[in-house]
């Protein structure tokens, strides 16, 4: 069964990088540009994993994560936080949020794929599903 990945980031560049990274896999990547859109996309699509930026307009990643954890239908969706800030306090703060993992920008596609594979059983695209 195709994996469902939700990329929540206000940077279109990052969302495109995430989409490109998972192109070789049998995965559908949904996109949202802020936490509010991310919550709506989570409810609509029930993703297998969420790749979540922290600093975003409208609703930031921390608020979105808090609201996810408050929702019985969404609270068990694994979340990987994506951040440009690798400082000790920031890392400790992310760890305290109950996320599955985090990834510091800049990152390579392989690093992102490896972290997602720890949580989701990604399958390579077969000839039948290549679009």
């Amino acid at each position: 069964m195709s994996s469902k990945i939700l990329s929540v980031d206000d940077s279109k560049t990052i969302r495109m990088i995430v989409k490109r990274a998972f192109a070789p896999y049998d995965a559908t990547v949904f996109e949202a540009a802020n936490g509010e859109e991310g919550l709506a996309a989570s409810l609509a699509n029930k993703p297998d994993i969420i790749i979540l930026d922290i600093t975003m307009p409208v609703m930031d990643g921390v608020t979105m994560l808090t609201k996810l954890k408050e929702n019985a239908d969404l609270k068990n969706i694994p979340v990987i936080m994506l951040t440009a800030e690798s400082g000790r306090e920031n890392v400790a703060f992310i760890a305290s949020l109950g996320v599955s993992d985090y990834l510091v920008k800049p990152f390579k596609d392989d690093q992102l794929i490896e972290k997602v594979k720890r949580v989701v059983a990604l399958q390579p695209k077969t000839a039948a599903v290549v679009t």
């Binding site: 940077s11 279109k12 560049t13 990052i14 495109m16 990088i17 490109r20 600093t55 951040t83 440009a84 800030e85 690798s86 400082g87 000790r88 306090e89 920031n90 890392v91 400790a92 760890a95 599955s100 993992d101 985090y102 510091v104 920008k105 800049p106 990152f107 390579k108 720890r118």
Partner: protein, 182 residues
């Protein structure tokens, strides 16, 4: 749950690799050192491009069309960083970061977004290390400036540093302006 202690160790180790032991170094010099490291790291990781320091006699802004990503940090350290590249090189960078052919890059919006993200990554790494050094600060949102013959002038209360990198035949110029510490 992931072993965050291990990840945190890695983060701290990465910070220790930067030589920050000379207490006589001014903050603007320290930030310049951090910018050197983070710029090389971002270009290597996100674009698979190696950079090398630009000779000091070539440290000037080109008269060709430029794209500059500007992002500041505010708090116990205050400054702004401008990352300048030629508009042609900006398009090449967008193509590499997004994995698209240059002719698929549609208009300036995608290029602007990539240069904004590039600036965010470079300055985000510097901001993190400033915070770890006890200079707590936050980043401003990035802005993009396009034009020819761009010149950025510091005010009397700021210190300025100009860094340059070669990347193949292209140049990357990074201007740092910091409010003088009191």
């Amino acid at each position: 749950m992931m072993p965050f202690d291990t990840l945190l160790e890695g983060s701290i180790q990465k910070i220790k690799t930067t030589n920050m032991t000379n207490t006589k170094t001014s903050l603007v010099e320290k930030v310049s050192e951090l910018l050197q490291t983070s710029t090389a790291e971002v270009f290597r990781t996100m674009f698979s491009l190696e950079t090398s320091p630009l000779p000091s006699d070539q440290l000037e802004l080109s008269h060709r069309p430029l794209v500059a990503g500007s992002i500041g940090f505010i708090g116990e350290a205050n400054g702004i960083v401008h990352v300048h590249v030629s508009s042609d090189f900006a398009r090449t960078l967008a193509s590499r970061m997004l994995g698209m052919a240059e002719n698929e890059i549609d208009g300036d919006e995608m290029v602007n977004d990539v240069i904004g993200e590039l600036s965010n990554m470079i300055v985000g790494a510097v901001k993190s290390q400033l915070c770890d050094m006890g200079n707590t600060c936050v980043l401003t949102i990035p802005a993009i400036v396009r034009g020819e013959n761009i010149s950025v002038s510091p005010t009397s209360s700021t210190e300025q540093s100009l860094l340059g990198f070669c990347c193949g035949n292209n140049h990357i110029l990074i201007e740092l302006q910091m409010k003088q510490s009191t």
